[in-house]
Symmetry: C6
Subunit: 257 residues, 6 copies
C-alpha cells in the first residue's frame, strides 16, 4: 500500500502526536469531506499503529464495540469487538461520526479514556489494561447536527478537540489537482465555484460543497465529461433537490465554464 | 434472457460509465415508474457485471447488508449479505429506494464508497478491499418524501447524482407502444392524458401518473378492455381515493376516449 | 368444497382476468364486509389457482412474507413464507388489508410485481423467477384509514385498482337472502334500514353497516330472535358505543319492525 | 367443580346460544366487574364446551395466539397457541379485554371468524378448518378506553355485540348476598352506596364501583371488619387516590353505616 | 433470621389477615420509605408463608412473571417465574411498586385474582389452580406518579386497598430510635425536622422526607458524624438538587442542631 | 499498582467510611471531571475491597446487572452480572452515571440496598444475602441532566448523598500540577482561566471547564505545545461548537498567555 496522501492545514499533526504520547483521546471536528479520515489514516501510518475504524450509527451498541458471545461448535465463544481488539493490539480506535452513536453507548469508553485506561468486559468479567500505544480518536460534524445529535459533556470532556475546515483556496486546488490529475487551470475554476457556493448563505443547503465533491467533478472532467455537466452531476445534484437552489447553483457554474 | 429494453433520455449512460471507470458511486434521483431500475439493469448488462439489488425499507439493518451468523450443523457460519457479496464478486450493488433505509444504516457504506474502498466486517474482524469493477448505485425519489426521509449530507456527498424524470411525449409514446404492443394512435391518447394530469397542480395527488401506469392502461386496452374502464382502473384508482380527484381525472379521460 | 358464492356487481371479474393474463397486480379497494374476499376466492377458483392469503398487520415483517431460517435437527433450514410459496407454486398471493402492513415491508414486492418478476431472497442469496400464473392481489379499505395508513405511491403504482362498494339494494337483498335463507320480505326491511343508516352522515360512525352485518341480523331473525333485538345485537352494537348514536339507530330500526 | 353461579340480566344467554348455532362471534361490552367473565364461563358449561381464555395485553402477539416453534430435543416443534388449540378442539376462545391487544394482532382472527372458518398458520403452511362447535367470544370495556383503545371496524363487524351493565338493585343485592353469604339487610346498605356513587357524575373516577367491589366489602364485613372500614378498604381506596373524592365517598358511606 | 420489626399504625394487620382468609388481593398505597415492605414481610411471617417479591419495572414482562423456556442440555425446559412459583407453593406474591410495570402486563393476574383462582400458562398449555393459602399483594406510591403511571381500573378493582402514610411523631420516634439505637432525645430533633419539612408545601420536592431517611441520619449521628453534616447527607441531598431548596432545608436543620 | 492519588476536599472520606460501616448506599453528586471516580477508587483501596464498576447507559438492563443464561457446551449456564458478583465477593458496586440507566432498571437494587440486603435472582429462583462488606455506590451529575434524567425518589431515598464540586483554586492548582508535572506558576494561569470561565454565566455552555480539562491543557503545555493552542485544544473546543462562545473563551485565554 502506498503512503496516504494528506496535506496538513495547520498544527493538527503536532497536536495529535502530543496527545498520543500523553495518552489523551482526540476528537476531530469538521464538515463532511474535508479530510478528517485521511488525516487520521496518515498519522496512524506515521506512528506505525493499526487503525481500527468503526462507522458509528444509531444501531451501534455497546456490545458491538466491546464484543459478544457467538456459538462456535457447541460452545459460546466471546468474539472481541473493535474496541477490545484495539485495546489488545495497542492500536488506534477511530470512531467515525461518533455523534451518530447513541450518547449512552459511548459511556463504555469512559474507563478506557481516563487515567484508569481499563476496559471492563461485563459479559466475561474480564478487565483489560490498555498498552501505552492504545488511543481513541473520533470524528464529529458539528454543522448540520447542531441541537439534534450532540455528545454529552461527560463524553466530550474526555477528548481534546482539533477543529477542521475546508482548506484555503491554494492548498485545496493542490489537493484537487493531485487527486484528480486534472490540470491546475481547470481546477482553479472549480475552486472559484466552491468559494462562491460556500459564501452563499441564502441557500438552504444542509451542507455546502466539500473538497470531496470538487475532486469528483474534476475526475469527471478528466474523463471527458463536459465541465457543466460534470459540475451539475457532482456538485449541484448532490447538494440539493430544490429547483430554485439548482438554478442558483447552475448559474454560478455557467459563470466559470 | 433477452436484452433489457431501455431508451436513454440524455447523457445518463455516458455519465454512469464514467463514474464506474472512476470508482465513484451514483445516485439516481426521480419519481416512481420513470425507468430508474431499467436504466441500472441495462448499464449493468452493458458492463457485463452482476447486479445485486436490495429493496431498502425501514427494517433494513446494517447486518442485512453486510451479513450475519447462522447456525449450520453445530457451528455458526457467517453468511454474506448483498453488500459483501457484491464486493467479493466485483459486481454492482443497487440500493433501490435508498432513503427508505434508516440514515444510520448507510454509514456502513462510507469506507467502501470513498478512496479507501474497504469494507470492515465487524462481526468477523475481516477487512475486504473492493475490486475495481465493484460499484454502488442507489435510487431515490425526492418528490413525496421531501422533508420526511432524506439522505444525510455525509452520505449524499459520497454519490454523484443523475436526475431522472418522465420521458418527453415522443419518446414516452414509443416506450409505451413498445412495451404494450398497442398501436401508436391509441397510445398517443394516453400520452395526452398523462401530459394533462402532470400539469394539473390543483389536485392533491401524492405522485402523478408514471410511464408504468400508462403501459398498464395500454396493455388492458390491448386485452380488449374498454379504454375508459382501462384508464379508470390503471390510472385513476391507483392515483387517488378522493371522490373529487376521481371526477376530475375521469373528465380528462373522457375527453380522449 | 362447494363453489364460492359471489354475485358480480360490475366488470370486476373481466378486469381481474385480464390483469392475470397480463401479469399485473390488482388492488381491491372498498369498505369492510362488501365482498372483496369472496370475490378473490371466486376468481382464484375460476382460474384453478391456489389462493394464499396473508392477513396483514403491523407486525407483518418482510421476513414473514419471504421466509425464515428455522432450526431443524442441528441444521438451520429456510422455511418459505407465503410470498415465496405463492411464487414457487404459481399461485395467487392475497394480501388482505395490505395497508395494515408497514409501508416499508411492501418494498419486498417491488421486483416481483414489475417487469422483472423476480424475488430476491436475501437471506439465502437465491433469486426466484415467477411462473406466468403467479399473481399478487391485495385489499385496502380507503375509508376510515384515510390519512393514517396509506400505501406509498411507489407501491400503489405497481397495482391496477378495482373499486368495490356495497351492492345496490336489489342485489344486496338477494345476497342476504341467499346467505341467511330468510324470506325476501323480511330481508327487504333490513335493506331499508341499511340504506337509511348509510345515508345518515350526521352520526360519527367509523364505518357504516356492511352486507356482512345484514346477513348476521337476518340469520339471528331466522333463528327465532325477535327482529328488533337481532338488529340491536348485529347492527347497532357493532357500529357504536355512543348512547346518542345508539338511540338514533334504534329509532330507525323500530320504524321497520 | 361446582356449577358456575350466573344470574341472567336479560336475553344474553338466548342470544349467545343462537350465535353459537349460527357460527357467529360474540363481543361482550360492559364495565369492569359486571359479570362478563362469569357469563361466558356459564354458557360454555351449558354448551359442554372447553373455554380457552386469553387475557389480552399490549404484548399479546399474533404468534402468542397461533403458536410458535420451540426447541425440543434437537428439533424445533410447533407448539399450538390458544387460538389453534381452540380450533382443533372445537372449543370456545375467549379473548378477555380484547381491546388491550394491538388492533393489528386481531387480524389473524379474520379468516376464522368469517364464512371461511379457516386458520392459516403461516409459520408451518398449515390451514385448519374449524369444527362447527368452535366459536370466538371477546370482552370489551367501552368506558374508560374511549378514544384510546378501540377495535377497528373490520374487526368489530366480525362480532355481534351484547351489552352488559351492572345489575338492577334487586338482582345485584341477591348476587352480593349469594357470593358473600352476608345477610340481605346489610347488603342492601351496600347497594344503596353503590347506587349513589354510580349517580355521582361530579367525581373524576375512571370507573365507578362494580359488583365485584360490593362483594369484597360484604365479605370483609362478614369476616368481622367494621362496615365503614370495610367500605373504605374495598370501595373508596380502590376507586380513587384523590383526597377530595375520598372525603365525598366516605361521607356517602357514613350515611349508611 | 430474627423476627421482622414492624410497628402497626392502625388496623392494617387485621385487614390483611381477613383478606388472606377471604382469598382477596391487597394493594398497599403510600409514599416511599413509610414501611410497606416491612409490613408485608411481617404479616407473611405471621402467616408462616413464603413471600416471593418481584420488584416491578418497565421491563417486567408477563413472561418474567409466569416463566419461560430455557435450553437445558438439548431440551428446552419451562422455568417457572415468581408468579407461578408462588401459585405452586401457596405463598404470597408481592409486586413491589406495581405501577412501574406496564398496565397490560398485569392482565396475566386477572384469572388468578378473581373467583377463578386459575393461572393459564399459555406457553405450555397448563392451567394451575391456586391453593387456599396463595395470595397476591402489591405496593403502589400514588404520590409522584399521579397521572403518569396509574393502574387501570380493571386491575385496581381486583385489589382491596390499604392506605399507608408516615407514622405519627410518637411512634416514628420509637421506630427511628429502635432502628438506629440513637438516644430518644436526639431522635426527637430529627422528628421535628421531618415534621417541618413535611409541612413545607412551598418546596418543589418530588417526595418528602421518609422514615427511612430519618433512620439513616440517626445512624450517621450514632456513628459520630456531626448532626448537621449527617442531616445534610442523609436528608437534604437525597431530597433535592436545587440550591434554594437546599438552603431552606439546611436552615430548618440548623434550628434543631 | 501504585496508590490512587486523591486529595480530599472535605469530610467525604469520613462520611463514606461511616456509610460503609452502617451498610448504607452512597450517591456521589457533582459535575463531570471533578474527581468522583478517583474518590471511590481511593476509598475502595483504603477499605481493601474489590471495586466493580458499571458504566451505566440507556441500554443497561436489569439483566446486565444481575446476570444472564449463556449456552456453554450443550447446557445453559447462569453467568453472574456485576451486581451479583459484587454481592458474592462482598465488594463495592460502583454505578457510574447512574441516572443514565432507565429508572426502572434500578428497581432491582431495592431489596439489596434496604434492611433486607437480599438479591432475588428471578431467572434462577436464587436469593443471595449480602455479606457485611458489600456496598453500593453511584455517581450522578445533577447539572445538565436536570429535568431530563432524574432518579426517582424511591431510588434516591435509598442512598445518602455526598455533594462534590470543583476544588478551590489552591487545591485545584496542586492537583493539576501533580498530575501534569507542569510548574506551579504556569498552572496558576490555567486556574485563573478556569475561575473566569466558571463565573461566565452568559455563555450557553452545557457544562463548564473541569479539573480534567485543566490537566489536559497543562500536559499539552508540558509537551511543548504553545499555551494558547493547548488551551484552545483542551479547553475551548471541548466546551463549545458555537463561534461566539469560542471567541469569548479565546479572549479570556489570551489575557493569561
Amino acid at each position: 500500500m502506498t503512503e496516504v496522501f494528506y496535506k496538513p492545514q495547520g498544527r493538527e499533526v503536532e497536536l495529535f502526536l502530543a496527545a498520543h504520547k500523553l495518552k489523551m483521546s482526540v476528537l476531530l471536528k469538521g464538515p463532511t469531506g474535508c479530510g478528517k479520515t485521511r488525516f487520521v489514516e496518515s498519522v496512524a501510518e506515521k506512528l506505525g499503529l493499526n487503525l481500527i475504524t468503526v462507522s458509528c450509527h444509531e444501531e451501534t451498541s455497546a456490545t458491538d464495540l466491546v464484543g459478544r458471545h457467538l456459538l462456535m461448535g457447541s460452545e459460546t465463544v466471546f468474539v472481541d469487538g473493535p474496541l477490545t481488539r484495539a485495546v489488545r493490539q495497542g492500536g488506534i480506535l477511530y470512531l467515525d461520526e461518533v455523534a451518530e452513536a447513541r450518547p449512552d453507548v459511548l459511556v463504555v469508553l469512559h474507563s478506557i479514556t481516563d487515567y484508569r485506561r481499563q476496559l471492563f468486559i461485563e459479559r466475561t468479567g474480564e478487565t483489560l489494561v490498555a498498552p501505552d500505544s492504545f488511543m481513541v480518536t473520533a470524528s464529529f460534524n458539528p454543522g448540520y447536527q447542531k441541537g439534534l445529535k450532540e455528545l454529552k459533556p461527560s463524553t466530550r470532556q474526555r477528548f481534546i478537540s482539533i477543529p477542521f475546515t475546508y482548506p484555503l483556496p491554494g492548498p485545496e486546488a493542490e489537493i484537487v489537482a493531485h487527486e484528480s490529475q486534472l490540470d491546475l487551470k481547470m481546477v482553479k475554476h472549480l475552486i472559484q465555484i466552491a468559494t462562491q457556493i460556500r459564501n452563499l448563505k441564502e441557500l438552504g443547503l444542509m451542507e455546502t460543497v466539500s473538497t470531496r465533491l470538487l475532486i469528483d467533478a474534476a475526475k469527471l472532467i478528466g474523463e471527458g465529461i463536459e465541465p457543466r455537466l460534470a459540475c451539475r452531476t457532482a456538485i449541484v445534484e448532490p447538494l440539493t433537490d430544490e429547483d430554485e437552489d439548482r438554478i442558483a447553483l447552475t448559474d454560478l457554474i455557467s459563470m466559470q465554464f
